[in-house]
Symmetry: C2
């Protein structure tokens, strides 16, 4: 009865990749639901079924863990939720609409709004540490650029001629971010549809504006 080797002696199996994934899963969920500062490493260890030694082996500090969550998980979430669907869509407008509707539908099905992972962490960590801010800003930049590129592709196809790609991309990202912020606070996803409709009314009427302008040019000749 000198040394008690845990429950069963000698039944451990090293699985560094699996353990790392488990930790990231738990951290991503907890950061999303409770935020960075409100998530203690003790809670994460318990939720992931991981000891302190193992956690420290993979992520030396809490900051390193958060940085991994941002770079691997949050960036991937933005890529999967926004960038890929927009790129795959027939047009920027269709892409934006499909994302808004998909997210709204998902929120309504869940009945609970956790908010945008990127914006959640961005608000809490952007001013806390330059490394956090840089990582988060990079994701925002990629997100916005993907939409701007899509507008550019539309324009090369003869559409959206009087839409400024960068400006529209900023508007789309900002509208979604802000709508998710309101949806999270009010716990009501309806604001997403309101914003989408208002956004589309403006964008679609931009086409009308262009037609009228072209019409005037023809008249002028």
């Amino acid at each position: 009865m000198t040394a008690r080797p845990k429950a069963q002696p000698g039944k451990r199996t090293n699985d560094p990749e699996g353990l790392r994934k488990r930790v990231l899963d738990v951290a991503e969920a907890s950061f999303q639901a409770r935020g960075y500062h409100a998530s203690s490493l003790g809670d994460l260890m318990a939720a992931a079924g991981v000891t302190g030694g193992a956690l420290h082996h993979h992520f030396p500090t809490k900051k390193a863990l958060a940085l991994a969550v941002i770079e691997e998980r949050v960036a991937a979430a933005v890529e999967a939720t926004w960038i890929a669907p927009v790129q795959a869509a027939g047009s920027t407008r269709e892409g934006v609409r499909s994302v808004f509707e998909a997210v709204a539908a998902e929120l309504e099905q869940q009945g609970f709004v956790r908010g945008c992972p990127l914006n959640n962490l961005a608000h809490e960590l952007s001013l806390a540490d330059p490394d956090f801010r840089t990582a988060l800003a990079g994701i925002f930049s990629a997100w916005r650029q993907a939409i701007a590129d899509k507008v550019g592709a539309d324009q090369q196809a003869g559409r959206e001629q009087d839409t400024d790609p960068q400006r529209f991309a900023a508007l789309a990202v900002a509208t979604y971010s802000g709508a998710m912020s309101m949806a999270k606070t009010t716990q009501d996803s309806a604001v997403l549809r309101d914003c989408l409709n208002a956004l589309e009314q403006g964008v679609s009427s931009a086409r009308a504006k262009r037609r009228r302008r072209v019409l005037r040019q023809y008249k002028a000749f």
Copy 2:
């Protein structure tokens, strides 16, 4: 040498209102810059020059302090920054434009983006506590309603006939919130102007759309 009455004996002056104001000032600034969880009461006490007993007398818990900051300071900031200027403006569009430009100019002058007080706290606290969420949601609601009412006033003056007040208000609030989020993360206020320009292009061309529609009606006759 039994009891040592601080530095100078008997030179205290009670100033409950002033002390309370000082605490709220410091808390508002710290919550804005570092967030709720990252702001310790010890830091706030030191910054405000207040002892633990005095702080506890006015704000029994940290939550009570945060609730006071939200209800008294954040709500007032939204009122002063957004609601009052929009109500005072000649039109909704002018009001929104003036607010965006005023904030952008202020940020450029400061050279630093701290973000929107309401959104900062909303992201961190909405899911943390129902009382927080309710208080924050109320501010969002008042903000949005003020803009919607202004659109309604425009419509009674014969303008913005095909603009949905609630939808446009949601879009304006969301765009600003999201733009501030990006500006904070990138530490660049330019995105505010991008969003404003994109927003105005959409909104102003909505007028064009209506004119065209009216024109068609006349042609039809």
